[in-house]
């Protein structure tokens, strides 16, 4: 590097080497790209977004259509008819053996039903196109495609995560910057309130809210609100701290001395400089929204049928997990991979945007 064409306005780090004279964001982007796990996380999150939100445009099966002959089919690349037939014949053989062994006449009814189904299936298998379908991830207890259900479940889970994160960030930013900038009794009031909320086990409050509301199609919307209402605490604290430390900094004093009003100072100076930390906390909070929503859905307090989130699917999968483990594993793995990727991305963003971070762990 030639020495005589240096700028004097470059920042230097502890070894007095010059950090490249690029913007904070370009620099952060460079750091992020160097972090392999974060890049992998970004790709996975990107693919999930495209697949779940583009699901309507992609050739996936319906997530609501029930097919009684395709109940609980295991994952397979063979056409559904063949898989279903194999399963029915296996069950028929089991039943026959059981009848011979125990001599229970009540099992005969089941046997008859299965024989009828086999006949029906054999009749349709070559003519009805639905038996040509391939369920690569199997079907659930109503004969619905697990792949489609997982993808649409992801859509709801990710949606809730996004809306929850944005709402929480909004409330947190507004209250945090109000408290931080104005100080005095307003700050005190907000601070007390945040303290109080922190001393509540907040998921329990959400459970109360959710259980009190009439069940219906609107519950998903209420769920967004309920989760967001209680999740802005951390963001507001972080923003408040950031605003307070920036408020007294020299560049803000300079802006004030040049006659900038409060609004201008908050929106042009304080918030843009807090953006990095807001992004970090929001990204790290995103997976916890998804977890919380799924947690509620798991308890039967979240998304109601026919819609399903990952939590609903896992909860349904638990019911028959001994016989039909794919019903549990498919949504569980899909969700875990996404949360895993999200956490890596969040960690990467924190390291990239806040390299001096004290609370790195």
């Amino acid at each position: 590097m030639p020495l005589n064409d240096k700028n004097n306005d470059r920042a230097t780090n502890e070894f007095n080497q010059y950090v490249k004279p690029v913007s904070l964001w370009a620099d952060a982007w460079k750091r992020l790209r160097r972090n392999k796990m974060a890049v992998l996380g970004m790709w996975i999150v990107g693919i999930y977004m495209v697949v779940t939100f583009g699901a309507a445009l992609l050739p996936f099966k319906s997530y609501t259509e029930q097919e009684m002959l395709h109940i609980n089919l295991p994952p397979s690349f063979k056409p559904a008819g063949v898989v279903a037939l194999g399963q029915l014949e296996g069950r028929k053989a089991d039943l026959e053996a059981a009848i011979v062994k125990s001599g229970r006449p009540d099992l005969k009814q089941d046997l008859e039903r299965i024989e009828n189904e086999i006949v029906q299936l054999k009749g349709e298998i070559d003519t009805d196109p639905k038996h040509k379908r391939v369920y690569i991830l199997g079907t659930d207890y109503l004969g619905r495609d697990m792949l489609a259900r997982t993808i649409y479940g992801g859509q709801i889970s990710i949606m809730i995560g996004l809306i929850g994160t944005l709402t929480a960030a909004m409330i947190g930013i507004v209250l945090g910057s109000l408290g931080g900038y104005l100080g005095g009794w307003i700050d005190n009031l907000i601070g007390r309130f945040v303290d109080l909320m922190y001393s509540l086990p907040y998921m329990l409050v959400v459970i109360i809210i959710m259980s009190m509301l009439p069940t219906g199609s609107n519950s998903i919307f209420v769920l967004y609100i309920a989760i967001a209402m209680i999740s802005w605490l951390t963001i507001s604290r972080v923003v408040r701290g950031q605003i307070i430390s920036l408020k007294n900094s020299e560049f803000v004093e300079a802006a004030r001395s040049m006659g900038a009003g409060s609004g201008r100072i908050i929106f042009r100076h304080l918030l843009p400089n807090s953006l990095g930390i807001i992004i970090i906390y929001s990204t790290l909070q995103f997976p916890s929204f998804i977890m919380n929503e799924s947690f509620l859905s798991f308890l039967g307090l979240g998304v109601s049928a026919p819609r399903a989130s990952w939590g609903t699917l896992v909860s349904e999968g638990v019911q028959g997990m001994q016989l039909y483990p794919w019903r549990l594993l498919v949504p569980a793995v899909a969700m875990t991979v996404f949360l895993f990727a999200m956490n890596f991305l969040g960690d990467g963003l924190r390291d990239a945007l806040d390299p001096q971070s004290k609370n790195r762990n």
Binding site: M1, P2, L3, K6, T12, F15, N16, Q17, Y18
Partner: protein
């Protein structure tokens, strides 16, 4: 004279592998330290003076740093080749250090007594009671009032200047041969700076300790040091006795530094001189004189080759194309 030399640093190199490239923080530094001598190492921040002294104690954080070559001969043995056990017998015992920021250099969770006693017990084999008595005595020497009482307090109960006194007492508690003082007064109030320097001076004389005083301030070394090394971008650019450096500076950088010290004895209406430009980035530095962009007397040769070190007499060297063969 050479028999008195207790520490000989020869061609010491300490490099840091960073994402941006290889940082040659210390690149071929050599100097001698005689018994009881006070040596000043002067340079801007980032010139490698602190890293040099961490390297002497083999305390460079690794990774990313490592010692890339050279020797540090202490009483006949090369420290850099010693096993860890051997070095630990020297650290804190034969060579001890005090650092820039006394606020962060003492462990906030341990009492002063614990921190002082552990060193004395470790190196001098005293029992705890005797070690404590020794620690109290050292604190008294370092000018801490009521040391018997204060020794059982925690660092946060001391002021900055008092903490630096504690650091000095701790560093000298094993009566080391060498005390390395890394900018010991930079973080302190101006009024306290002189007291601390005076204390270092007085105690080292009394105990016969040689001192390496690292500082960015020529004013500090002027009153205290027998000889001076001026560092720039990881290398020593000029070396000599304090008298020689101040009365007859050779290197343009040294000349600039001296010109930029405010003087009370000469009333002047002129603006204070300052060296133009910024200290260089030492990552991937080309083979040239790193000072040439800021040098008023730079020549073509300065841009292509690092100057040979010119010997101008006993222990008097300068690395500049204006002197020696290059001229």
């Amino acid at each position: 004279m050479t028999d008195d030399v207790i520490l000989q640093v020869k061609d010491l190199k300490a490099y840091f592998k960073l994402d941006e490239g290889l940082l040659k923080a210390v690149d071929g530094v050599s100097f001698d330290l005689r018994k009881g001598e006070t040596l000043g190492i002067v340079g801007e921040s980032g010139s490698g003076k602190s890293v040099t002294n961490l390297a002497i104690m083999k305390l460079i954080p690794s990774p990313p740093g490592h010692i890339a070559g050279g020797e540090v001969v202490f009483m006949g043995d090369d420290i850099l080749k010693m096993p860890d056990d051997g070095i630990r017998k020297i650290r804190g015992n034969k060579i001890s250090m005090i650092f820039q920021d006394p606020m962060t250099c003492l462990n906030p969770f341990l009492k002063i007594s614990t921190q002082m006693i552990e060193t004395i017990v470790l190196h001098q084999g005293l029992d705890k009671a005797a070690a404590k008595a020794k620690a109290v005595e050292m604190l008294k020497l370092a000018g801490i009032p009521a040391p018997e009482k204060r020794i059982d307090q925690y660092p946060h109960q001391f002021s900055g200047g008092m903490r630096q006194r504690v650091m000095i007492a701790m560093a000298l508690s094993c009566e080391p041969e060498i005390l390395i003082a890394d900018e010991p007064t930079t973080a302190l109030d101006v009024t306290i700076q002189a007291q601390i320097l005076e204390l270092i001076n007085e105690l080292s004389e009394r105990l016969g300790t040689a001192v390496i005083l690292i500082t960015h301030s020529l004013g500090v070394v002027a009153g205290m040091c027998d000889s001076i090394c001026v560092m720039y971008a990881g290398r020593i650019v000029e070396r000599g006795t304090a008298d020689e450096i101040f009365s007859d500076p050779k290197h343009p950088y040294t000349q600039g530094l001296i010109k930029s010290v405010p003087r009370l004895d000469k009333v002047s209406t002129q603006r204070l001189y300052s060296i133009p430009g910024q200290p260089p980035n030492v990552i991937n530095l080309p083979d040239c004189c790193p000072f040439f962009p800021r040098c008023e007397r730079a020549m073509d040769v300065c841009k292509t080759k690092y100057p040979k070190v010119a010997e101008l007499g006993d222990k008097r060297t300068v690395a500049c194309w204006l002197y020696g063969e290059g001229k």
